[in-house]
């Protein structure tokens, strides 16, 4: 990930639907244009984050995987 990360959310061990609820809550506190990094261990987040961004209009920047840790990057593009 090249973009600057403004905030990190640790959802280690959490299952669906908690990660997307936490993302939605966290993004509310953030400013437009800021980037959120989400740390998850839930395999489902890989597709869910794309669906969540598609539905809410926020920008999905990609993910990084290292063993069981999945890092997902989202840019807040809507208020």
């Amino acid at each position: 990930m090249d973009a600057k990360i403004d905030s990190t959310l640790d959802c280690y061990g959490m299952l669906c639907p908690l990660p997307i609820i936490k993302i939605a809550e966290k993004l509310k506190e953030m400013k437009k244009g800021e980037v959120l990094e989400l740390i998850s261990t839930d395999e489902g987040i890989k597709e869910d984050i794309v669906a969540w961004c598609d539905t809410t209009g926020n920008e999905y920047l990609g993910l990084e995987e290292d063993d069981e840790i999945i890092k997902v990057f989202v840019k807040k593009t809507v208020n």
Partner: protein
């Protein structure tokens, strides 16, 4: 901003697993920016009942019913493998281990995410549930017409 997509969920069942599925979808939808309404009817009404009713039902059958059908999200049982409470307890332990919220926590979370909780007045009447014995998260008491009007405008509509 465009109008939000609407989701309506009828919670007819009062079993822990089905209720959790309903709240999973409801909270997920709210987190997706959707406007969610949950209708609690029949056994589902137990989810939004307080554990200790202040107003005792008037009819003897309603009273008897209240004894065998206690209210409160904490008291819900699994639809399978309840095993007199052992199965449900085991599931609750496993859920906690997986950081999953319990049923009462799910109710609170849904409320905080802006999910509208609606109780069915017909079920309340024959189960002898007074409105003061519903949890505070319930904001509306309605009948089928309100549900249908909301469901008509909803993209997602579930009966659980």
């Amino acid at each position: 901003m465009s109008e939000k997509d609407k989701v309506t969920i009828i919670v007819f069942s009062g079993e822990l697993d089905k209720v959790l599925a309903a709240f999973n979808i409801a909270t997920g939808a709210a987190a997706m920016g959707m406007e969610v309404s949950m209708f609690f009817t029949f056994w589902g009404l137990n989810v939004v009942r307080k554990e200790n009713p202040k107003i005792s039902p008037s009819h003897i059958l309603q009273k008897m019913f209240g004894v065998v059908n206690p209210g409160g999200a904490r008291k819900l049982k699994l639809s399978k493998f309840h095993f007199g409470g052992i199965g449900t307890k085991m599931m609750q332990i496993l859920m906690k281990r997986s950081l999953m919220p319990s049923a009462p926590e799910m109710v609170k979370m849904a409320f905080e995410l802006g999910v509208t909780m609606i109780a069915c007045t017909t079920s309340m009447e024959f189960m002898g549930v007074n409105k003061v014995d519903l949890i505070d998260e319930v904001s509306r008491l309605t009948g089928v017409a309100t549900y249908l009007a909301l469901a008509k405008d909803s993209k997602i509509n579930l009966f659980i």
